[in-house]
Symmetry: C2
Subunit: 217 residues, 2 copies
C-alpha cells in the first residue's frame, strides 16, 4: 500500500490547505487515539450523525452499526457513509477574536459501509474495539457467545478516500495586533481518566487491572 | 416554549429507549457543555461530517460554516443538516465483553441550516462562541471588524427536532455473569485543561486571565 492516500475532490482540504494531511501514519495515529467516531449517513432528505465506538484494523474501520444497520439490510453493496474522528488538543486564544481557534486533529473517511456477516470477522472486530481502548481486557472478560455475536451489528468501511486536518502550534495573529495589551496563548486540552470506580457487586479480592487504574489515551 | 421537544420518527431513540431524553433542560445543558459539534450534510451521493465550533443562543444553534456554506449559496431555504454533540463520561467495564459500554451524553438536532446574513446577528453569534467557551474573553480581545465579519460564515439551526441520548451509572451485567472473577467498574473520563502556555510574543507584564489559568468545562 502507498504511504499516502491520494486526495480526491471530496477529501482534499480546501480551506486552509496547509492543515491537510494525507499520509497513512498521521491518519492512522489519529484513528487509533480516538475512542468515539461520528458516523454520517443519509436518507433521501436528511443526513444523520451518530456517535459510536470503532477500531481500525489494517486498512479498514469497524464500527458499531445499530443505527445505520437498519438502512443496510438489503443494501448488499453498502451505503455511503462519512466517518469522522476529532481530537481536541487546545484552545487558541489570539489577540483578536477573529484569530481565535482550536488545536485539533481530525480524520474524515468516505466510502460505502458494509455489514460484517462472517462470525470470525465479527469476533476480530469486537476484539479490536476492546483491545484498542483497554489492552488486555479481551482476555480478562467473558468473550461473546454465539447469541451475543448475532445480536451485534458491526459495519466495515475500507479506508480508501481519507484525509486528516490538523491545527497545532501557537497563536497566529495579524501583525498589527501583536502590540495589543491582550493576553494570548494556548490552553491545552486532553481527555483525562479519573481513578476507576469498582462495581458494587465486584469482589474486593479481585485486583483492579492496570488498564483501569492507570488509564491513558 | 414547551419544556420538552416532541420526539419525531427521526429523533425518537429507538434502540435502548430508556436512554432517550427530550426535555429542554437536559438537552441544552449538553449543548452548552460541548466545545465541538459534528455537522452532517449531504451531496447527492455522499454524506459529510465536519467538526466545528458552535454555540446555543436561545432555541437555536450557531455554528461555523466554512464547509457547508459552499453548498448554501443560492439555497435560500437552507440545507438539511444534522448537528451532533457528544460528551464522553466514562468507560464501562462489564464482566462480559458484550456488556462493555460507554457513559456518554449526546444530542442530535435535525433541521435546515441557513446562512446568517445580518451583521448584528453575526456579531452576537461570534460573541456567543467566545463567551460560551471563555467567559470574559470577548471584552478582553479585539472584536471583529467589518472585513473580518464578512470573511466569517456562520450558519444557524433552529432547535425544533432534537433529542438526547444518555448512558450513565454503573455496569449492567447479565445476572449469571456477576459470579465471574472479573474486575468490573467505571473508568471516568473528562476533558482536562492543562496550565496555559503564554504566547512567546505576549508581554510578561500582562497577567494570565482566570478563564485561561483555571479553565474548566
Amino acid at each position: 500500500m502507498p504511504e499516502s492516500f491520494t486526495p480526491t475532490e471530496r477529501t482534499r482540504v480546501v480551506r486552509e490547505p496547509h492543515r491537510g494531511a494525507y499520509d497513512r501514519e498521521t491518519i492512522y495515529k489519529i484513528l487509533d487515539e480516538g475512542i468515539v467516531c461520528h458516523v454520517g449517513f443519509s436518507t433521501a432528505d436528511q443526513p444523520f450523525v451518530i456517535p459510536t465506538l470503532y477500531a481500525r484494523v489494517g486498512d479498514a474501520i469497524y464500527f458499531h452499526g445499530s443505527a445505520a444497520s437498519r438502512m443496510l439490510r438489503g443494501a448488499s453493496t453498502g451505503i455511503p457513509v462519512c466517518i469522522t474522528v476529532t481530537l481536541t488538543d487546545g484552545l487558541v486564544l489570539a489577540r483578536s477574536v477573529f484569530n481565535h481557534s482550536m488545536n485539533y486533529r481530525s480524520v474524515v473517511a468516505l466510502g460505502k459501509a458494509t455489514l460484517v456477516e462472517a462470525p470470525g470477522e465479527k469476533v476480530e472486530a469486537l476484539r479490536a474495539f476492546t483491545e484498542k481502548i483497554l489492552p488486555g481486557r479481551w482476555e480478562d472478560a467473558r468473550q461473546p457467545n454465539e447469541k451475543e455475536l448475532k445480536a451485534t451489528s458491526i459495519l466495515k468501511l475500507e479506508l480508501t478516500e481519507v484525509s486528516a486536518k490538523i491545527r497545532s502550534g501557537p497563536v497566529q495573529d495579524d501583525e498589527e495586533d501583536y502590540a495589543l495589551p491582550v493576553w494570548a496563548g494556548i490552553v491545552p486540552l486532553r481527555l483525562q481518566a479519573d481513578p476507576p470506580i469498582r462495581d458494587e457487586r465486584c469482589d474486593p479480592a479481585i485486583p483492579t487491572p492496570a488498564y483501569a487504574s492507570n488509564y491513558k489515551r
